[in-house]
Symmetry: C2
Subunit: 119 residues, 2 copies
């Protein structure tokens, strides 16, 4: 299926997150090198500080959030591009009120493990 | 620079296209495995039938277009996800009127060559 609408694809809860859902838009079974996913965080939702082994290349589709990357806090909104290198602690806190915080997140087709960071 | 707004990044004309511009959002100098680009085609613009050696994972941000992939024509719009395997001929024709056709296109960090397909 070369073309499909993202809204038609299955949604799953992200166990490590709060009010956070994930969709696989193009999975490792289709793309030979990397996978494209869409994350949807309800206002006030998010994910605590954690690391992944793989890098994230992200594009914000709508809404806004505070995103911590290492020691730096960023306020991101639609049209922002975010690069998170593998191994760097990061967190998401979707802004209260307004629309959900939605972003694409592309990752390489490699084994990954999410590790929560104790702060 | 872990966060930047796409609108702040340089834009270049795509030589093989018509009224088509490209921005590198996350380049191969930053992402170790793949690059994220944004294409902007003015209404009526586009790219003729061509092949790339690498696959494309795409997400339509706004506008609409006729996208041919192999022998199949698709009408795509915001929120549509498009996968084009390496080597498969494809073309873009942004719809006349309305807003520009804008999409993300992620490609692996590998040498690529664009070849126009004689129809």
């Amino acid at each position: 299926m070369p073309v499909r609408h993202a809204d038609s694809l299955p949604t799953e809860d992200v166990a490590a997150g709060t009010a956070t859902k994930r969709q696989v838009l193009i999975g490792p079974d289709e793309g030979p090198n990397f996978a494209m996913r869409r994350f949807i965080m309800e206002p006030g939702g998010g994910m605590p500080m954690h690391t992944n082994e793989v890098e994230h290349e992200q594009y914000v589709l709508r809404g806004s959030a505070r995103v911590r990357i290492g020691d730096d806090m960023h306020h991101v909104k639609a049209g922002d591009v975010v690069f998170i290198p593998g191994g760097v602690p990061h967190s998401y806190d979707a802004d209260e009120g307004g629309e959900p915080f939605e972003f694409l997140c592309v990752v390489p087709n490699r084994p990954d493990q999410i590790r929560l960071v104790d702060r």
